[in-house]
């Protein structure tokens, strides 16, 4: 027995905003799920099971909110699973949903990732005191800044590479109607002149805090074959995790990231990702992570990823490997959904349904998410043709 063919049939996203004051948590989740069903031309009764993902329950102050959301997702009498793998959760959630199809257990699964960060304050939820330790870090930037510093030191990258990534992603976001940040008057100089928050990370190089939800309908081969709209076939799916801190750990290029990429490309039969992949959606919450992940994923040699940023290779307009055409996490970050948005945007590209940020002729795309202290990874490769 082997993995059954599996396809993304529908995608739904909410408009990402700093606060969706017009809806309840249920209304937010429902909006994405409803749009995914509409995209797949299906109704609630067509869904066999639901897989829901989000980051810590402390963000909304609801413990295991899938229990309260069962009604909202038309799930009464059906199975529901709730995934939580830190920042990678949106990606992991989609992979769990896909596995239900790959294993032949269900025909169509709805999967949703969401976060309604405006209900509380992310810094509060992320800075809950650890008993018996002293807090010397403020937020996620405090954790990732030293790792970026080490990358800058060892690669010798020009100091403004991060600003170039941030500028590119924010310009891409203008082409994506769902993106949170639409900074029409942004200039490269403004990115550079922004204040340092976690030196070497500028304010302009960090992700926003967003409300939002993303949903996918994932189905089996028959559902994919009979779909009235283009589908994205899953060519590879992989997860890897490693501990947070241990002797000899390369925190810039974690082994779990490399192993996960090798596995997902092996499954997809890809030997030269730079050539064979047409579009990439990688999880870049701080701008420097674009060149760092490009290296780790095998798109560039070690310490050379920044050159792809510098020479425009990752630009939508003219680049050979457009990265984060949607604007990426730097332009929208509802944490529990952010990984799924990467997966969804990769699928949109190969379905040819990415609108203004479509990469012409994209046939195969990578969706990527990471979480924890750069220790949880989820990736998939999707294609416009069956694998």
């Amino acid at each position: 027995m082997a993995s059954r063919l599996t396809a993304v049939l529908g995608i739904g996203q909410t408009k990402y905003e700093s606060a969706r004051n017009d809806v309840s948590i249920a209304g937010l989740v429902r909006e994405a799920a409803h749009r995914a069903l509409a995209d797949a031309d299906l109704s609630w009764g067509d869904v066999d099971a639901v897989v829901i993902g989000k980051a810590p329950d402390f963000f909304e102050g609801v413990m295991m909110p899938e229990l309260y959301l069962a009604d909202v997702l038309g799930c009464v009498g059906k199975p529901i699973l709730r995934v939580h793998t830190a920042g990678s959760v949106g990606g992991s959630t989609a992979l769990v949903a896909a596995s239900l199809i790959q294993a032949g257990i269900h025909r169509r699964v709805l999967t949703v990732g969401f976060e309604k960060q405006s209900e509380s304050n992310a810094t509060w939820a992320l800075s809950l005191p650890q008993p018996f330790s002293v807090s010397v870090n403020a937020g996620a930037g405090g954790y990732f800044s030293p790792i970026i510093r080490r990358y800058m030191e060892r690669s010798g990258a020009p100091k403004l590479i991060g600003c170039m990534v941030a500028y590119k992603d924010r310009r891409n976001a203008l082409l994506n109607p769902y993106a949170h940040l639409h900074q029409h008057d942004l200039t490269f100089d403004k990115v550079v002149e922004a204040p340092m928050l976690w030196d070497p990370i500028r304010y302009s190089e960090t992700c926003p805090s967003s409300d939002g939800a993303c949903a996918l309908i994932i189905g089996d081969e028959l559902a994919g074959d009979t779909s009235s709209t283009p589908v994205a076939w899953i060519h590879g799916a992989a997860m890897r995790s490693e501990p947070n801190n241990f002797p000899g750990r390369d925190e810039v290029n974690p082994r779990a990231s490399q192993d996960c990429a090798i596995d997902v490309f092996r499954q997809a039969g890809i030997t030269n990702p730079r050539v064979e992949i047409d579009a990439v959606e990688i999880y870049v919450p701080f701008s420097w992570y674009e060149p760092m992940w490009l290296e780790s994923l095998g798109f560039a040699e070690r310490d050379e990823g920044w050159r792809m940023v510098e020479d425009g290779s990752t630009c939508l307009d003219g680049g050979d490997l457009p990265v984060n055409c949607s604007g990426g996490v730097l332009s929208s970050n509802p944490i529990g959904a952010s990984g799924m948005i990467r997966f969804a945007e990769a699928a949109l590209q190969v379905r040819g349904m990415a609108g203004e940020h479509q990469v012409d002729g994209a046939r195969r795309a990578l969706g990527h998410a990471y979480g924890g202290g750069a220790q949880y990874f989820a990736m998939w490769v999707v294609g416009s043709n069956k694998p």
């Binding site: 993995s3 810590p56 102050g61 413990m63 769990v96 992989a238 947070n244």
Partner: protein, 335 residues
């Protein structure tokens, strides 16, 4: 209650689970865990517990914010795909630092119910009263369930409430604490964890003399709103039992994840488990309820009985949410 951290607790358990069948972490195809941030009082609490696994070289791994029984289900799904042949599942809960009775109120909808902070035992009592008033169970019937749990738990080193001498009279003499329930009607809180190794086909036969085969597994959820549900029925457990094939053959024993004697009475009725079936030989969750792990423990206890040759076909049940909202049924067989 334990002073060990979750990671210290699990490092021992995981090692014991793997070494009991001679496996190392590198041999495991997929690892999945279940736990709760709200229980730990920490965001991303499961990240620290990953240290107990020995996840280097990196492992294929996932986590559910659910009871470990649902992590077990996810691992079973991965095995069904057919690309790996072993999986490790674990879950743990340390409820002693916080107050479960308050924490669990946050499972309710955050607009109408959670702001009233209904204590978890009171929510159980609302359902229990209906069962009593509808004549589905009597106070004596509840006491009999409590007695059976405490007596069965005597042989279970992990139980926190056990007694070889307790009688129905003793239980009925207890003061009512959460009307209409008595202390022995409510599950005893326990810190703890559980680890289970799954393997497919020939691999399982290689690793274990008498594996407990998963013949069927299914889970379903009901609506949460207590005032919308008919609390005297549990449609999700009926559906899960049917879809797991529970009633297709006789069952020797059942391990039920009931948080009260009243829930156990309702489960027996809804699943259709008669008096000929041995119920909760471990004492069940009543004898030691480890939040986030008690469901996985039911599967582990049932599988253990089968492996020891004490049963041929067993049913394990896990639940999540208030008043048996979400239910999983796993049917295990010895051959």
């Amino acid at each position: 209650m334990t002073d060990m951290t979750e990671v210290q607790l699990m490092v021992r358990l995981l090692e014991a689970a793997r070494s009991s069948i001679g496996l190392e972490q590198a041999d495991i195809g997929f690892t999945c865990s279940g736990s709760s941030d709200f229980l730990a009082g920490q965001a991303f609490s499961f990240v620290q517990t990953l240290d107990a696994v020995g996840a280097f070289p990196p492992i294929s791994e996932s986590h559910v914010e659910m009871d470990g029984a649902f992590a077990f289900y996810e691992a079973w799904v991965k095995l069904q795909i057919g690309e790996i042949d072993t999986a490790l599942v674990y879950s743990y809960g340390k409820s002693s630092p916080g107050s479960i009775r308050d924490v669990l109120a946050l499972q309710f909808d955050p607009y109408y119910v959670a702001p009233l902070w209904p204590p978890s035992d009171a929510v159980i009592a609302l359902q229990a009263r209906q069962l009593l008033e509808f004549g589905i169970v009597s106070l004596e019937g509840l006491a009999e369930i409590a007695v059976r749990s405490q007596r069965n738990a005597v042989g279970n080193p992990n139980a926190v409430r056990a007694s070889s001498t307790v009688t129905v009279c003793d239980i009925l003499a207890e003061e009512v604490v959460t009307d209409p329930l008595r202390p022995s009607d409510l599950a005893a809180e326990a810190d703890g964890g559980c680890a289970v190794v799954l393997a497919t086909g020939s691999r399982a036969r290689d690793l274990c003399d008498r594996p407990a085969w998963i013949r069927g597994i299914d889970h379903r959820i009901d609506t949460q709103a207590l005032g919308v549900r008919d609390l005297s029925t549990v449609p999700s457990v009926v559906a899960a039992a049917q879809l797991a094939g529970a009633m297709e053959d006789r069952i020797d024993l059942a391990e039920l994840h009931s948080l009260s004697t009243s829930q156990e009475a309702l489960l027996l009725r809804e699943i259709g488990l008669g008096s000929e079936i041995e119920i909760n030989p471990s004492g069940g969750a009543l004898a030691g309820n480890t939040l986030m792990a008690a469901g996985l423990m039911r599967i582990a206890e049932a599988a253990d009985r089968i492996s020891k040759g004490e049963a041929d076909r067993a049913l394990a049940h896990a639940t999540s949410g208030p008043c048996l909202q979400q239910n999983l049924i796993c049917v295990l067989e010895g051959a």
